[in-house]
Amino acid sequence: MCTKMKINKACEKANHVCDKSQYKEATLLEKLKLMLHLVFCRACRNYSSTNKKLTTTIKDAKVDCMHKNEKEALKESLEKAIQEQQHQP
């Protein structure tokens, strides 16, 4: 494996751990390895900082969405209303 490919593989792995750590799913060992990688890799450092920024922004915005069952119930009632409207003269 050439050096460039090795670097790409390492960056891919680092980005994956970075994504996982945004959801608190990375292990301590993975996080330590990521930190070590970030010391040497500027591209991953940039990705990591943007990734963290995105997480903080979404957390601050307190965005909400409808749950699947709520959407299904709404869909059902809307479909019923659409059908009723189509049958009206």
């Binding site: 959801y23 920024k53 979404i58 601050d60 965005v63 749950h67 709404l74």
Partner: protein, 184 residues
């Protein structure tokens, strides 16, 4: 010549989350937000003939929803306004207990400006989410906004964990660059 077409069958999948977030940031009540979104869809369905196609479907639905929210506040204020008794317990005439701490501005209290910025931020996030492919948007919403764990999402969408992380990575990259352009 109308530029935009209307298709109520796609409303729930395309706009329900955006409308719901728009509503909940303004009324702060989940059940009420659901009701208002439902009423908006029904009202849209009834007045479909009035859709000229000049604005997008989403803009048109938002304009109906805004009316609904205004109507809701008008309604509760007319009922509440009649019954409300305002107690001014920190007036200077009161000799005992003037609750001084109540007069001090709370630095953690949300100002109108803060909530306005939050509403705009929420809208910006949903605008960026709208640019993602459907599958990426679904997975990203489930994982990031709803906070559902990986296993449940994989079972529900019938995908592997590694597949999920690839989708998440692509969604996060697109979201970050979109937010970079529109917000950061």
């Amino acid at each position: 010549m109308p530029n935009h077409q209307i298709d109520p069958n796609k409303w729930i999948d395309s706009y329900s989350d955006y409308l719901f977030n728009f509503t909940i940031s303004r009324v702060n009540d989940r059940d009420l937000a659901k009701d208002l979104v439902q009423e908006t869809f029904f009202a849209g369905l009834k007045s479909m003939k009035n859709f000229k196609g000049e604005a997008s479907e989403r803009t048109w639905l938002i304009s109906i929803l805004k009316r609904k929210i205004i109507d809701y506040y008008r309604k509760i204020n007319s009922n509440k306004g009649k019954a409300e008794v305002r107690m001014n317990y920190n007036s200077s005439s009161e000799s005992e207990g003037d609750w001084l701490e109540e007069r001090v501005a709370d630095p953690f209290d949300k100002t109108a400006e803060d909530s306005l910025e939050n509403e705009e931020l929420g809208d910006a996030i949903y605008n960026c989410l709208g640019k993602l492919p459907e599958k990426q948007a679904t997975v990203f919403k489930m994982k990031t906004i709803e906070g559902i764990d990986t296993e449940t999402i994989c079972n529900e969408l019938n995908i592997t964990a590694s597949n999920l992380w690839v989708i998440i990575h692509r969604a996060r990259t697109t979201m970050a660059s979109c937010m970079e352009k529109n917000w950061f």
